[in-house]
Amino acid sequence: MSVIVLVEHTEGNIKKKSFEAVQYAAGIAQKTGTTVSAVVLGTLSNSEMESLGQYGAQKVLHVADARLDELHARAYTSALLAAAQKEGSKIIIALHDINGRAVAPRLSAKLKAGLVAGALSYPDLDNGFVIKKAVFSGKAFAFVNITSDVKVITLMPNTFQLNKVEGKATIEKLDVSFGDKDFGIKVKEVNKIKGEIPLADAQLVVSGGRGMKGPENWGLIESLAKELGAGTACSRPVADAHWRPHHEHVGQTGGTVRPNLYIAVGISGAIQHLAGVNGSKTIVVINKDPEAPFFKAANYGVVGDAMEILPRLTEAVKNFKQNQK
């Protein structure tokens, strides 16, 4: 009956957001009077797997097939089904990210299980199994009740603070017999962007718009991002003008970010842009136009010329970091 949670890892380390998912699973397990079985797919050290105990997993089910080091959604689905069957689980949790969004809907379809995609709350069990999620690109929230016996949830990353406790998970091997179809997709080429923080996971983001005047000024954005340890993003017109690569575009038709801090420089704040960033915890807007609509959605605002403000802000961050040491 345990709660099953899919754990993601990269280069030998469990991703922070997967600790969030395990902790979330532990919260649900506590509410429903059961335990957590974390599912680890592919190659990972025992010590790393045991550390899942610090976020509430009692047990790790490890499918040690090296082919699973990269995403094979059908194989992942088969492995999670096998784990759920072994444990007699009724609740399966993944992350609302690229991997989770390829796997969780498959599980839902297979198990005739209701799916909440992008959970922002623990289930309210007093009224069924009701979970809050964002709809209309963050302009509203919906309270979704899962009415089926089996339930599948993808948790929105960066929703809950991690709270480490004492604990060590026990590791059990899980054998899954995969078919050819499970590995039907062949990966031909992987291009990782080196030296950058993946935008979707960035806790801090510095983003530039047309107010940056041209690609030659992006050094100012990058310096601030580097000083903060932030990812860099941009608005749609900037990507369309090829000042910045398309993967940096955030907004309705680009990527979505939910960092703790989003610093928007020279971005007016069109509703399409806000749709991609309104999950940010704190928003700082720097714009020379005091009437820019983005100020209405911001926590902190600075009116002035970005070319002058950015170096000052970078310097201030640098001083702050030095004083912290």
């Binding site: 690229i98 969004r101 809907p105 379809a109 299980a113 709809v135 929230f141 089926s148 291009n191 605002g301």
Partner: protein, 247 residues
């Protein structure tokens, strides 16, 4: 090669969301509905390009909705496509929607099913992968480039911190995002032609929903912005540290 493009009707991006009936429903008075941008700009246009290149023979468009969704599916037909199918059901549950589409798709047998990466109303992004499971095919999400010869597909997709190129054999379900194709504007000829193209109305298969939306909530109003002088970036950093606690 037959392509099915999934089309979802959504409120226009600029819509202000207003709740009604004790916060249990969205007030659709004055709301303008459009084709979900990811379905239109990327999935549909890529399907049309494949037909223009002589690779695809038939492009079908499918939507799940009541009669009030017909103007939007007609608008999609004005961009192109040989016929449209409307499954006559009102669904907010991706499991239910995916089952309706899958049941219809089985009767035709498509080589390629394209959808947007998510719809901008309920933001689930789940129907594509569910369809793949129900049709026992592969699924590739977050695609930014799709090439196919009618037998196999080569797809660039987003991964964390980069991009990868995958190949797989057809049939496959692919969810599209930016890069797959460039937006098009329907021309008068397309709009006229769309009127004569068939729009089939199909009764939904017997499927029960597995989720229900009990109520909605609007985000709390921002507590008010704090302005910081452009000359005092040390103050901003201090606020971000001590007050917002983000650095």
């Amino acid at each position: 090669m037959k392509i099915l493009v999934c089309i979802s009707q959504v409120p226009d991006t600029s819509t202000k969301i207003v709740l009604k009936d004790n916060n249990t429903a969205i007030n659709n008075q004055g709301v303008t509905y459009v084709i979900n941008p990811y379905d239109e700009w990327y999935a549909l246009v890529r399907a049309l390009e494949l037909k223009e290149a002589g690779i695809a023979s038939d492009i079908h468009l499918i939507t799940v909705g009541k009669v009030d969704t017909e103007p939007v599916i007609r608008k999609a037909l004005a961009l192109g496509g040989d016929e449209a199918i409307r499954i006559d059901a009102d669904s907010h549950d991706p499991y239910e929607t995916a089952n309706y589409i899958a049941e219809y798709a089985k009767t035709v047998g498509y080589d390629l099913i394209l959808c947007g990466k998510e719809s901008i109303d309920y933001n689930n992004g789940a129907v594509g992968a569910m369809l793949a499971e129900l049709l026992d095919t592969d699924y590739i999400g977050f695609a930014s480039d799709i090439q196919t010869d009618g037998k196999t597909a080569t797809v660039k997709r987003e991964i964390e911190g980069g991009e990868e190129t995958d190949t797989c054999s057809l049939p496959v379900v692919i969810a599209c995002q930016k890069g797959v194709a460039e937006a098009r504007i329907p021309n008068m000829r397309g709009i006229m032609a769309a009127r004569t193209r068939p729009l089939k109305v199909v009764a939904p298969a017997a499927v029960s929903s597995v989720t229900e939306i009990l109520s909605y909530e609007l985000p709390p109003a921002k507590a008010g912005i704090k302005m910081v002088s452009a000359d005092n970036m040390d103050e901003l950093v201090e606020l971000l540290h001590a007050e917002a606690k983000v650095i």
